[in-house]
Amino acid sequence: MDIEIYTNLAYIVAAALFIFGLKMLGSPATARRGNVFSSMAMLIAVIAGLIGSQAVSYEVIIVGILVGALIGTLSARLVAMTSMPELVALFNGSGGASSLLVGWATLYYFEGDVVPTFTAATIVLAILIGGLTFTGSLIAYGKLSERINSAALVFSGQRVLNSALLLAIVACAYLFCIDPSATSVYLYALLGLALLLGVMAVIPIGGADMPVVISLLNSYSGIAACAAGFAVGNNILIVAGALVGASGIILTNIMCKAMNRSLANVLFSGFGAAKTAKAVEGEVKPISVEDAYYILEAASNVCFVPGYGMAVAQAQHVVKELGKILEANGCEVSYAIHPVAGRMPGHMNVLLAEADVPYEQLVEMDDINPRIENVDVAIVIGANDVVNPSAREDPDSPIYGMPIINVDQARTVFVLKRSMASGFSGVDNPLFFGENTRMLFGDAKESISGVIGEFG
């Protein structure tokens, strides 16, 4: 009893350190110290756990630790910096496997005794989520390191198969919980199904989305640790697992936003979303100020394309301010001026000179168009006709033949305007429906100020 109290006191200290560590990891200035805090917490927790386990034999433990430490150290030290994400995936898989094994091993405590249903349920969770994390991470690793085809793998009957898989898992889990034991066939079925689930969940996701998948699986491995914690009744597993589970979800969400996707889209794209993707083409995709921030924060080449709306909103000063913030963020910034933007020749020049945008950053249409593909984000500020692709593509358009700034060929386009209304020439603009276009509705000045606020 005494030992239990002391280990748990140590766990409390460890929990506090984990909390500090995670918090500090989220900010550039403190991230490294945060990692040290968190590793100290781990040391305390592990030593306390070791003492608290009141182990009878230490051989297996020592061998396990030695093997694990060796593999962990070597791979962390030797692997090239560029393959870090794969490595994290592998480590994450180990965590999942460990949770699965702990859950499984717990069953053997009860030899002969009845396993309480609650414990059985937590064991099932630990096994399921641990197994899913394990194989899911392996597949993610494979895709990232291109050991397996990194393209999304979609085959007919996939949805049916996945549905069947889920059904089977629910059934086995139920049957196992009714009569839980270390020798239950359902246990083995569950083990297999969990591993299969991980594979099935990740194969239909493309390689480019892997970082998000890993982050999600990381969150899962926290949940798995949490479930294992319930199974063995260990506080620190629950606290640390829950912290990782919850903050992992948030981080995943942040990453999705930075990639311009919803979490749901990533979570379920494996189950048939690929099919429906085509259908949403031609849809207007609004974006929030916050999401715009995440994308801009990660961009390294931003081009502003101002139009009459910037003048109406008198947004030139905030635009310049955002430009400077982006530059400070290590981003290349330019202002592409279309000759007829605005309502008088040189309209944009007057405004941008007033805001003291250096002449060097102003580029002409003919200079920006050849390198527009390298622009990560083209921010169209209240321009419309001058970025209307139908001037280039649609011979029936009244503005056909007018050269435009080809923002539709930039990686991402933000269009800042108040509505879907057309511009001076009154023609519709297919740009707004583009695949890579995001509409940031609202007064341009307010929208930009909002984004600046997010950077603050």
């Binding site: 009459y308 003048a311 109406v312 008198q314 000759p339 007829v340 605005g342 309502r343 008088m344 020749p345 040189g346 309209h347 007057v350 000179a353 007033e354 006709d385 009244p398 503005i399 056909y400 033949g401 007018m402 001076f424 020439s425």
Partner: protein, 380 residues
Amino acid sequence: MQIAVPSESLPSERRVALIPDAAKKLVRAGLDVHIESGAGLRSGYADADYEAVGALIHNDQTALLASADLVLRVRKPSLEDVAKLKSGAIHVSYLDPYNEAGLVDALAAANITAISMEMIPRTTRAQKMDALSSQANLAGYVMVILAAQQLDRILPMMMTPAGTLSPARVFVIGAGVAGLQAIATAKRLGARVEAFDTRAVVAEQVQSLGAKFVEIDLGETGQTKDGYANALTPEQLELQRLGMKDVISQADIVITTAQLFGRPAPRIVTADMVAAMKPGGVIVDMAVDSGGNVEGSEPDQTVDVNGVSIIGMANLPAQVCKDASQMYSSNLVNLVSEYWDSEAKHFNLDMEDDILQGCVITHGGALVNAAIQSIRGQGA
């Protein structure tokens, strides 16, 4: 294909139809460019500059015109010039076709394809050839500089140890291309700017430059489909005068830019309004050439009316002739390039094209322009 750029015959015309940079583009496109000796001199371009880009210099204007397939110039040709042109040649310049019936007839008779730069339609696609806009833009800037130079005050506000100078008040009437640029320039110099236009749609544009739009309720006005203003009824003009008198009496500088295309300009600022201004005030009348918006303005003169100066400079863009020439040349080059097939070395004057339909006045020996024809119809 031989392009000829004669010197401008009007001594006050400092612009040139083709600057060396523009000539270079045409030479590159495979056209032969011939320049009359000294044509660019008043804009600061020597014959050598043209030769450097591959143009040929001619001393004899008559020979130059006679051999040209395409003549580019700023001002309308004289009747003698028309006589010198070869039949079938294309002549591009300002023409004032609404008022120059005789000249148009002469051009038609001489079988010249005459393109009038004023008649380039105001469509989005034609903007790059629109010389009226490009020159009006510069005129807007020039008017403010002239007014600032004439005014016995400074435009910006200054809070100094020797007291506070309040910002000058500038009132711009007519917020078209020139008016907007005038607003922008006056704003830049720190003046308090107000503007008025009969087209209510420009209120937003005025505000987008940080100036104040003066609201005067005139009832129904409107604009033509090309973006030109409709003429006002006499009652509306009276209403407008009353509404503006107040603003004018407080203004240090008044700039009027109200032109009605092809017709005499409206008389907006009357003698009593001028009288209401403070001594030392300045008025710039951009429409002085087409009748004047201001009572008492005289072309190319600065008239003093009880201490108020009325500047009536007719050719405002020529004040900044270097930039004006550059922009006008660009307009011409854009026009030529649009219809010049550099593969086939052929000038492709497709009379179905909406731009050409607007700006070609005579072709194949006849007056072909619908707008001018309809005016003639009325006249008859």
